[in-house]
């Protein structure tokens, strides 16, 4: 339609030249009137394109002959000299229309170029402001979709894994045959699929996202109606988008790598710190034990400069060594428990257990220095049996009691409260120590956490984290709070019913 209109317009131009020429016909030599037609041809060439301009050239020759050359209003030519004029008009008209049309085409190409560059710039801007890889890929999909009016998909491999769809327009379906083209393009780092020689039957065109470090992924575009190929300009533009997308993906993956390296470095630093603290804590008791043994051995062996110890001193040393052994054993147990909890090799032997029995057992196994601490136990009446691993739960209570005793002044009683509420058995252990700053209450269950207080840094900081691990393995919860009036309160909540095994044994 548009082209027919253009041809009609060029007809109009010739008609106008004829009309303009009519009043001044008497004043001029007819040959000069040719200039009017020439102008019409040039205008047609410039604004309407090659075809209309050529039409205008021919029409001009006929109109000039018909209207201005004697005998007028007939195609007959009296003076054969006019044949030269005709030929000249035609040739010049055709050449001018060719040249003018080429200028027009170049202009259009330039505009197209400009649009392409503008589109790439817009994508580039969006990519720069995207916060992560997914946002970047979304931007790529959106821009390609808008610019080329096609369905779009981006596939990126997971680290060490296969290609995965990471972003796409809503109805981009990937089936087996498409995957073939995609993988070929990825493997060979060349465009494949629709409009190429490889997998030409695929429904979409797949462009590899190439960078210096290899193919980062695949950008696929599919026409909304099958069989509509991209123009070469569009293909070029697609390449441009692919390049930008490739750079973006590369940038994201580099950033990710740098991030990972940093995290790794920090973990390493933490591990070194932990190792230092553990080896210090494990070695301290060994030092005293070895020292005691050496002194006693030296004394037994006698000799000139042998140490001489009275009975009281020997007893004191031995007592010290024994306490240190107990401590060392607890440290080792805790480390082993932690390792088992973390590696998932800790197996619960759930049996219906009596909380009173566990508490009694834990109290009997308290470490020496805390053995004689007053403990008030309040048990609610008619507590049900709780599914638990007796030995591990005893460990939880020992650790909690140990902590309560360690962080409160000697002689301050420890309170144990047990009751049942909403299908949970609640064991509360409270001390009258200094408590914990509110901001730290969550962190006390972290591995290797120790309160930063002078003179109180005994132990590995594993006790509470082991409690947490064991309690959670039972499907329970543990938390700490500060008591009104000072001191800390730790609550262990255990489910009363183990859904899987009611009343069952091992």
């Amino acid at each position: 339609m548009a082209s027919i209109l253009r041809y009609l317009e060029s007809l109009g131009l010739v008609a106008m030249a004829t009309l303009l020429g009519t009043p001044i016909r008497a004043l001029l030599h007819p040959t000069n009137l040719v200039m009017l037609y020439m102008a019409a041809v040039v205008i047609a060439a410039f604004f309407l394109g090659r075809g209309p301009a050529m039409l205008a050239s021919f029409l001009s020759v006929f109109a000039f002959d018909y209207f201005y050359v004697d005998p007028r209003l007939s195609f007959t030519v009296a003076d054969t000299e006019y044949l030269v004029t005709f030929t000249g008009l035609l040739v010049v008209g055709l050449v001018v229309s060719g040249l003018a049309a080429r200028v027009r085409e170049q202009l259009q190409a330039l505009r197209e170029r400009e649009r392409q560059v503008e589109a790439l710039n817009a994508l580039s801007r969006d990519l720069t402001s995207a916060v992560n890889l997914d946002a970047m890929l979304q931007a790529v999909v959106r821009h390609v979709n808008q610019t080329l009016s096609r369905e779009v998909v981006v596939l990126i491999p997971r680290p060490g894994g296969p290609l995965e769809r990471r972003a796409s327009t809503t109805d981009f379906m990937l089936d087996e045959s498409e995957l073939g083209a995609i993988h070929w393009a990825f493997e060979h780092s060349e465009t494949a699929g629709m409009g190429t020689n490889i997998f030409p039957n695929a429904k979409a065109r797949y462009v590899p996202l190439k960078t210096m470090r290899g193919v980062m992924g695949i950008l696929g575009v599919r026409p909304r109606q099958p069989g509509r190929f991209l123009t070469s300009a569009q293909r070029q533009q697609l390449e441009g988008f692919a390049n930008l997308a490739a750079l973006a993906v590369e940038r994201a993956s580099l950033a990710e790598e740098a991030n990972r390296a940093q995290v790794l470095g920090e973990a390493e630093k933490l591990q070194t710190a932990l190792l230092n603290s553990i080896s210090h804590d494990l070695r301290t008791p060994l030092v005293s034990i070895q020292g005691v043994l050496d002194s006693l051995l030296e004394m037994e062996e006698g000799g000139e400069n042998a140490v001489v110890l009275d009975r009281e001193a020997r007893l004191d040393m031995l007592e010290n060594a024994r306490e240190e052994t107990t401590r060392l054993n607890r440290l080792v147990e805790n480390l082993l428990d932690m390792t088992r909890l973390e590696s998932g090799t800790l197996k619960l032997r759930l049996e219906p257990g009596d909380l009173q029995d566990v508490i009694g057992s834990a109290l009997a196994h308290l470490d020496d220095p805390y053995k004689n601490r007053p403990v008030n136990v309040h048990m609610a009446e008619n507590l049900p049996l709780i599914p638990m691993d007796f030995v591990l739960m005893e460990q939880v209570l020992i650790n909690l009691l140990d902590n309560a005793a360690k962080y409160s002044p000697p002689g301050a009683p420890i309170e144990i409260n047990v009751n049942c509420l909403d299908g949970k058995a609640l064991v509360r252990i409270a001390d009258r120590g200094q408590g914990v700053p509110p901001s730290e209450l969550e962190r006390v269950f972290d591995k290797f956490y120790r309160l930063n207080r002078p003179g109180q840094a005994k132990g590995l900081g594993l006790g509470l984290s082991i409690c947490k691990g064991i309690v959670e393995a039972h499907g329970g919860r543990i938390w700490a709070e500060n008591r009104p009036g000072g001191g800390m309160l730790v609550t262990v909540a255990l489910p009363v019913e183990d859904a899987g095994r009611r009343g069952g044994a091992r």
């Binding site: 052994t325 032997r349 219906p352 009173q356 029995d357 009694g360 049996l385 007796f390 044994a505």
Partner: protein, 228 residues
């Protein structure tokens, strides 16, 4: 006990442990024999006729439980097993197979000596005496009478049976399975909640403070023992 020092067979594949046990046991006046493997242990037990066997469960050639089982085919000699804490189930298996007591490594020498004394004492006890007494607890087996500090206590038949079983084996660790088997029968061996409830009730009746029991002691994850 007679004047002859008791013979103790120490079975452990770790030489330093044998060495330290030998020194402490000899220091306490016992005669000590050593075995480094299960085979040796059975040989030595046959040849030396020890009064107590201290048996490590982690032996290179055979399972300590298997050693216990083979020994139990012909001897009632008290067996005290040694185990490390990650092998709870081995310990229970050994006790079920007939071991009398256990200690978890590392253990105090004082604790070991106490266990040896209890087991020797029980082994020489010729007949069950009709009245058992410890602290304020008195159990008259011939009349089914239980008194605490002179006051009579009413027990259900099951509670009494459990107490009687413990009294028959004073100081010996009885596993959950053994008690359940004895009182309720084979079919109930795994119904440990029955046992928990009865022990809890029993304690409320005979213990001054059930939170810190004096007579019926819990062996965590293993069973119970009567103080002796």
């Amino acid at each position: 006990m007679n004047d002859q020092p008791a013979n103790i067979l120490v079975v452990d594949d770790e030489k330093p442990i044998r060495r330290f046990l030998r020194a402490s046991l000899q220091g306490h006046g016992y005669t000590v024999f050593e075995a480094g493997s299960g085979q040796e242990a059975i040989q030595e037990a046959t040849g030396r006729r020890p009064d107590v066997i201290i048996l490590d469960l982690g032996l290179p050639d055979m399972d300590g439980t298997e050693v216990t089982r083979q020994l139990r085919e012909w001897t009632k000699v008290p067996i005290i097993v040694l185990s490390v804490r990650d092998h709870e189930s081995d310990k229970i298996a050994a006790l079920d197979a007939g071991a009398d007591d256990y200690l978890t490594k590392p253990f105090g020498v004082g604790e070991l000596m106490a266990r040896i004394r209890v087991n020797l004492r029980r082994a020489v006890k010729t007949e069950d005496e009709p009245v058992f007494e410890i602290g304020g607890l008195q159990v008259d087996l011939s009349h089914r009478l239980v008194t605490v500090n002179g006051k009579g206590v009413d027990l259900t038949p099951n509670e009494y049976d459990i107490l009687r079983l413990l009294v028959h084996n004073p100081g010996k660790v009885l596993t959950h399975r053994q008690i359940l088997h004895e009182i309720w029968g084979l079919a109930y061996e795994t119904e440990s909640h029955l046992l928990r409830v009865n022990i809890s009730n029993l304690r409320h009746k005979i213990e001054a403070d059930p939170n810190r029991p004096e007579y019926i002691l819990t062996e965590p994850g293993v069973g119970y023992r009567l103080r002796y």
